[in-house]
Symmetry: C2
DNA sequence: ACCTGAACACCGTTCAAGT
DNA sequence: ACCTGAACACCGTTCAAGT
């Protein structure tokens, strides 16, 4: 079936199937051949719509980032940063397979730049020096990316005998795994609020 | 040359060559076949010493983590956290290819647990409730991993025309790239100090 | 025990060929 | 323009064979 009357594929269909494949099988289970199979098409067909695998993944990241909320700066820089960071984390947490792609990408995409632009504008508009605004954006992004790339609590074993004796301070660590999602969120929230509080207390902080 | 009198390989030689290969070619350029070639050996030979590629990478991570300094808790929890976070970042920044491996790994390795144990012990010993200590460890780790996985400033383009008009707040963004390393460090330092300051100001903070 | 070449089931991507 | 099968240069890993 070559050149069917109505095209079998378009970028949107490919992007949606790619996101689904990432969600279900994770980044390591994602391949152009698997993606093509999910779309009931041969692998080279994808190259009529995307030049490379990375371009497909770039588009997926872009779509996920679209949900990030930068409107909070209307209510001051603190609220702006809190809303941005939380919605950024939420968006990536909804698609864990996408997080590593955000971390490693060079992110020249429109939506990334638009997001960075609004955040920087919000901070400078509130009175932060441009230089400080850049650093604050960076620090918050680090926290979000870290929180989303490396689930902290789930990194521990759920077998208590792993810790017994050898790591006395982690003797309760096996309980971490059971509540991993909550602990990861609490750790993120603690870090985010402490960071914003610390910034508010700094000498050059705007009111 | 089968079964030579003196073995050609051992885990240490493999691990060192693997780290070098990662440093030079990055994670995407790392393969068991390339590693074997660097050691002037056939690829299957590696499987006499490591069961899988992941096991090799695990060992490399473990060796890099060995440099992390958790001794600062002798001088109080603030100094402990600052020293830990900075040396953790330094260790990973010295081997950028290793950072994504730390982020994605489940990290059951001895040295990870030993590090987590000392940090948790240091925080609890200083007077933080165990629960809070876990969250603080997590938040700091998020910041470090984020800082090391996703170079912030270098994610921007060095072509000014990319920003002109469309992203007014980023009009100076092309200057970021030139000083990317310094800006990334400043953003990390700002975030780290603000986080520790914010923690120190919290209601349940020990003296 | 430790190394080898051959082989299996995968990759991303290119290309000539079809409509 | 859009899709196909065949092919190229790669993967990680297994396995029988050698010493």
């Amino acid at each position: 079936m070559a050149r069917p009357p109505t095209p079998l594929l378009n970028r949107e269909r490919i992007r949606k199937a790619a996101l689904e494949l990432l969600d279900v099988h994770g980044p390591s289970g994602f391949s152009m051949r698997q993606l093509a199979a999910a779309l009931r098409v041969s692998a080279p067909s994808l190259y009529s719509h995307y030049a490379t695998k990375d371009e497909v993944l770039d588009d997926v990241v872009d779509a996920v980032i679209a949900d990030v909320d930068t409107s909070g700066f209307r209510h001051g820089w603190r609220q702006g940063v809190l809303t941005w960071a939380r919605s950024y984390r939420d968006a990536l947490l909804a698609h864990p397979g996408v997080a590593p792609l955000v971390a490693s990408g060079t992110q020249h995409r429109e939506r990334f730049l638009a997001m960075a632009d609004r955040v920087h504008g919000g901070l400078v508009g509130a009175g932060w020096p441009s230089r400080r605004a850049t650093e604050i954006s960076g620090a918050v992004k680090f926290l979000v990316i870290g929180a989303v790339c490396t689930p902290f609590a789930s990194g521990f074993s759920d077998d208590p005998s792993v810790y017994d004796g050898r790591f006395p301070n982690l003797s309760q660590a096996h309980r971490l795994r059971a509540q991993a999602a909550r602990i990861d969120r609490d750790a993120f929230e603690l870090g985010l609020v402490a960071l914003v509080d610390g910034l508010a207390a700094s000498p050059d902080a705007p009111p």
